[in-house]
């Protein structure tokens, strides 16, 4: 596998199935003021596998819902449309991407890291009074390109992993050298094809290199959350490495040391519960 031979393998990423229509509808509905919970609940209920997953998660202790949630309408009422949407998005992504069989790629570690970044991004956004749901979804999907590679072009990812281990470099460097592109670019392409909003697509594409902006953005938040999740060593990867952190992105958040320490604590304490709830 070389950078020259990689493009043909990467074409396979285009063969990833679409997300279920209900998820696309949900993504679209979330950005509207006039969204009807009844319509969403009815739509979700038509997809039995997704509905069952949403109900199972709604009944897990992570969400702390008293009593038993038995319908999607009730789940939306108790957890909120955005939380249910998040649960459904995870279920849909894990269903839509064929289970990878790629030497060196550990699906459980992949999801643990993604969930950690999602939680940390949500906590940063809440601290800064920004949209926590967009931050959560962007964090959850930030490495989507790596999952897509593992599933559709395992030889490409495997060669990148081999190169990373051999040179002990960052995965981003290994991917660029091996494939001539990287998981951030590829993940953004998949997310755009799956109709995720522009803020989420940009956060995926730029999470390793946030651009200079006057104010803090979702890109900054996911970039920082990614570093924090690696630094907390939550995925259980023996070759874990904290990627470089953009000082300007950090400074734009204006986080105090106390707030930063609290972020570490909250993220670390929430990961196990959410991973268990999502069965990832």
């Amino acid at each position: 596998m070389t950078a020259a031979s990689a493009p043909m393998s990467l074409e396979k990423l285009r063969e990833l199935p679409s997300l279920p229509q209900v998820i696309i509808d949900l993504q679209s509905a979330m950005s509207r003021e006039d969204v009807s919970i009844d319509v969403i609940a009815d739509t979700v209920s038509l997809d039995q596998a997704l509905a069952a997953k949403a109900l199972r998660v709604a009944n897990c202790s992570f969400y702390g819902v008293p009593g038993r949630v038995v319908s999607i309408r009730q789940a939306i009422g108790m957890l909120g449309l955005r939380s249910v949407s998040t649960v459904l998005t995870i279920a849909a992504v894990s269903q839509s991407v064929p289970r990878p069989s790629c030497p060196g790629f550990d699906l459980e570690r992949y999801w643990r890291h993604s969930v950690a970044v999602a939680l940390c991004a949500r906590n940063i956004a809440r601290t800064l009074r920004l949209d926590a749901d967009v931050a959560f979804t962007a964090g959850l999907l930030h490495d989507l390109g790596r999952l897509a590679l593992a599933s559709q072009a395992p030889a490409c990812l495997s060669e990148s992993l081999r190169r990373r281990d051999e040179l002990d470099c960052t995965m981003l460097e290994a991917e660029r050298a091996t494939l001539g592109t990287d998981h951030a670019v590829l993940g953004a392409q998949v997310a755009a094809r799956w109709h995720f909003g522009p803020a989420i697509v940009e956060a995926i594409r730029l999470h390793h290199g946030p651009p200079t902006t006057p104010q803090v953005t979702v890109v900054d938040i996911v970039h920082i959350a990614d570093s924090i999740a690696h630094a907390l060593d939550l995925a259980g990867d023996p070759n874990e490495m904290v990627p470089p952190l953009d000082a300007n992105a950090w400074n734009r958040t204006g986080l105090s040391e106390g707030q930063a320490l609290l972020l570490l604590q909250d993220t670390e304490s929430e990961v196990d519960g959410l991973c268990e709830a999502l069965a990832v």
Partner: protein, 62 residues
Amino acid sequence: MMIDEVATCTPSGNTPGSGTVLLRDTPAQGDRLEWLFREALRRQHVHPLMELLRRYRSQEGA
């Protein structure tokens, strides 16, 4: 908590400039936290999160 873009440091207990070999080859014997930040240590950059993590872990252990 503002941070500088670039500063320099060396891994504790290592001779300046020798971090690459020590951190690459003996992760199990070294400090796991330094192992996680080996890329920054190798480049002799201070990773802004490294000290924060140290304080967080020491606060946890207190």
